[in-house]
Every structure is written in structure tokens, then in C-alpha cells.
Amino acid sequence: MSTSAALADAARAAARAEGRETFVLNLGPQHPATHGVLRLKLTMDGEYIARAEPVCGYIHRMHEKMGENRTWAQFLPNTSRIDYLSAMHYTHAYVAAVERAAQLEVPRRAEFVRVITSELNRISSHLVWFGAFLLDLGGFTPLLYAFDDREKILDLLERITGARLTYCYYRFGGLYNDVDAEFLRGARDFVRYLRPRLDMYRELVTENIIFRKRLEGIGVADAELCRRYGATGPVLRGAGVAYDVRRAEPYAVYPELDFKIPTHPRGDSLARYLVRMEEMEQSLRIIEQALDLIPEGPFRSKVPKVLKLPPGDTCFAVEAARGRFMVRIVSDGRDIPYRVKLRTPSFSNLSLFEEASRGMLLADALAFLGSLDLVIPDIDR
């Protein structure tokens, strides 16, 4: 036996004698309570977590490296597969970064359609999170209601994009194809449809006493912690910081639209839940205004067939459903990117889990993990 192993044995024996022995619990990568293939190595002290170590990389697909061996346009399908729940936002960031670097004009109609589809996508993403989160907490019914509502969004987007999840709808300088009057009417009907449904969710879930007792004061991630780990999106807004890329670094036509940034000061799981529920309402407001303002006109500007970007370094950030998503593209003047760097929100949001979950009950930690709204392909990318 080696010296280190003997020392570890001795330490364990001492811990046992003092009654503070720990054990390692492996959660995932296929545990039904974790979303996707996230693995958590939990060092447990009885029912309490002494240390939670996230193990990432199970579905790493080399998206960044793939960007370096294909043309600018050929990377487009990848962008909707990094975070498959908010595909529109990710495509938006990449497309807008290339547009910024190449100084391409985007027609106004396209910008409005981008805002409408992005916000629809945000709602559908939050609805999936809502259903899955409630499932984590042991409530099955809301999932079915949420998926029923989400189906309406998917039908709408499928009508114009041709796909239900990996839309790949934006193009450099505009859109893949134009929206029709029926889509605009459908979007308006959907806004009218979802408002009473959100009221129903409030009655059914938000005001439910079991639900509130499960979340109040659980998994507190305050503003300071969020800042240190770079957490953004609803996690940061749930800690009382009104940071939203749509306001902090305005893009598309967001400056023309009137919406609030919902915040809750407490930083617990319930605060993050409430922020997302209010965000859905704000998204409905944005969609409504955009539908009123959308002009007629072209949906795509003229773009050279072989796109070559001038040498340089360009960044573009958007507010995705899970937080700040940023694309950094480096061009060396060829038709192929030199570097595509993706800054994904789920990665930062997961990072704070290790520190914040110390000393929590295992069941509470799962509620906390659910409230972070992680998409694992987004972490591993």
C-alpha cells in the first residue's frame, strides 16, 4: 500500500471516529432528475452536501473547432444546436456578429421578424423549463399544460421556418424567407391565448403552498456570487440586478420597444422562478408591439455569394433565454473563420452551483439545480 493511500485510510478512520464521515454520491450522467447528461459528484455528509463537483463534457461536440473548418455560412446550422431550446437567439448572435464585421445592412422588416421570433422562442424555452422544473419538484400536471402551449409556438415557427427546434432561420443580412400574414395573425392570437394561461399557471403553481415551501429561501445566489461567477440572465435578475443585454447593449429594434426587466431581490429559487414567469409576460408585450410596428419591405439585403470578412475581431452578445450569449469571431480575411468563440450562459450559471450548494439538503439542491435552467449541450458545446 502506498503512503498516500495509507494516509487517506487513516484520515477516514479518524473522521469515522468523530462521526463526520462522508461518502460520494454520483448523480448522473443519466439520472432522471438531472437534465441531459450532466454529472454531479456529490460528497455527502449524511443528507447534506459537503461538496458538489459538476463533471462536464459528456456531449462536447467541438462546435468552436467546427467553426474553423467551414465557411461563414456553413456554421449557421451549428448555431441552432448549441442550446437547442433557444436556437433563434444563438443564430441571432452569430449572424449579427458576422453582419457587424462585414458591415451588412439588415432590412427593418427582418429586424422586427427577428425580434418576434426570438421572443416566441424565449417563451417556448421558458415553458419547457417551467414544465421540467415542476417535474423535478414532483408535479407532473403543469408539464402537460406547458407543452400544450409550447406546441402552439412550435406550430407557428414551423410554418415559417420549416423546422420545429433547429430553426436556422436567420441569414446574413436578413432572413431565410419572409413571414406571411397568417403567421402575424397567429402570433397575435397566441399572445391573446397565452395571457389567461399565465394567470392559470399563477393560480395553479405560483400560489401553491407546497411549491412555495419547496423553493423559498432555497439555493440563494446573491448578486455578489453571480458577479464572481459571471452568471447572467434570470439567475442574475433573480438576485436583484437589472442586467439584460437587450437594454445594456441594445441590438435589433429593442431600443424602440417598451418592456420592463423583471427583478427579484432575494436570489432564491423562487425569485428565479418568478423572474422567468414575468419575463414571459414581458415577451408577450414585446411581440405585441413588434406586430404593431412591423413594416412592409424586403426581408433580406444583398449579400455577396462568397462572403469574406475583413481581418479583425468582432463580438456580439444577445440575451438568450438563459442569459448573455456572446459570439466572438476572428477573421483573417479568408472565407473561413479563424476562430469562433462561444460564450454560453449555462456554463457560468452552473459554475456557481458548487459554492452555493454547500451544506444544502440533497432534495433542495435538486430544486436549486432545476431553477438554474441548465441546458447541458450549452455547457459542453
Binding site: R70, A73, Q74, F75, L76, P77, N78, R81, T141, Y145, D148, E151, E158, R159, I160, T161, G162, A163, T166, C168, Y176, N177, M200, E203, L204, E207, N208, I209, I210
Partner: protein
């Protein structure tokens, strides 16, 4: 004493509200479709795998074997070969295959096609038991379609 009692009351009320919501849902028509006995309509712009478009006059493919789609494809799953036949003004394809196992349905090929010879099929029942079923020969598919729905030219 007062707070636990109030909590008991609000808790009880919230449970009743939940029951009311689920009960009203009970009397609503089902939102699901009993697939495979019924199917939903496939939208016009549905992005299935690609297929060749026939020239309505000649019944032949509109493809000129320019290989734009082959170059645009991010996953390199399209193979096109073409020759210039005697008496024709343009090239015509002799090989047009798609490796559907690698296709990501992005639609770049349809977008770059200069003659609009490609379109998305509306096929969505794509389950299969062997890999070979996904190596699609689009020229064969076109001929099969021509046999089932003749155009004026092929009828004559």
C-alpha cells in the same frame, strides 16, 4: 397561533384551486392526435430531406450539375456528377445522391441552387432498420415520381 392557522387556510385554498384547474381541464377536448390513425397536416415550408424538381415541360430534372449544392453543404453529404449530353445546351446530372445520415436539414443546398432544381420533400416518417435506406438516390426518386404522376411531355 394566528399564523399557522392562516397558513393552513391559504394552503388548503391553494390545493382546492389546483383541483379546480385540473377538473376544468378534464372536461375539455383532448389536445393530442391519435397517431398513426390520424396525422397533423405538414406545413408548406416543412424541411424534409431534399428532392429534385421536375421540369413541368420535359419531365426531366431542372438540375444543371453545377455542384453549388455540393459545395454549400456543411456536412458534405451531397454528391453530384453531370455530363453534357449530345444536343443539349446544359449539363444534366448522372449521379445525385444524398447521405441522409449526415444531413442536418439546414437547407443551404436549396438556397444556393441557381435553377431551383431542389426542394424539400414532405416525407417525415423516417424510421428505418438499416443504414442503406438513408443513402438516397435522388435521380431514382425523380424517376419513380415521374412514373406515378406523368407530365404532359411524358404522356405524349
Amino acid at each position: 397561533m394566528k399564523t399557522p392557522l392562516r397558513e393552513l387556510w391559504t394552503g388548503f385554498r391553494s390545493l382546492l384551486t389546483g383541483m379546480r384547474v385540473t377538473l376544468t381541464q378534464f372536461f375539455k377536448p383532448p389536445v393530442t392526435v391519435p397517431y398513426p390513425y390520424a396525422t397533423l397536416p405538414i406545413p408548406e415550408r416543412y424541411r424534409g430531406h431534399i428532392e429534385l424538381v421536375r421540369d413541368p415541360e420535359t419531365g426531366m430534372s431542372l438540375c444543371v450539375a453545377c455542384k453549388s449544392c455540393e459545395k454549400a453543404c456543411p456536412s458534405g453529404c451531397i454528391v453530384v456528377e453531370g455530363i453534357k449530353r449530345e444536343g443539349d445546351k446544359k449539363k444534366s446530372p448522372t449521379v445525385f445522391t444524398v447521405d441522409f445520415t449526415r444531413c442536418s436539414l439546414c437547407g443551404s443546398c436549396v438556397e444556393v441552387c441557381p435553377t431551383e432544381a431542389l426542394r424539400f420533400s414532405r416525407r417525415y416518417n423516417l424510421a428505418g432498420t438499416d443504414r442503406e435506406a438513408y443513402f438516397l438516390d435522388l435521380l431514382k426518386r425523380l424517376q419513380a415520381q415521374a412514373a406515378s404522376t406523368p407530365t404532359p411531355a411524358t404522356k405524349a
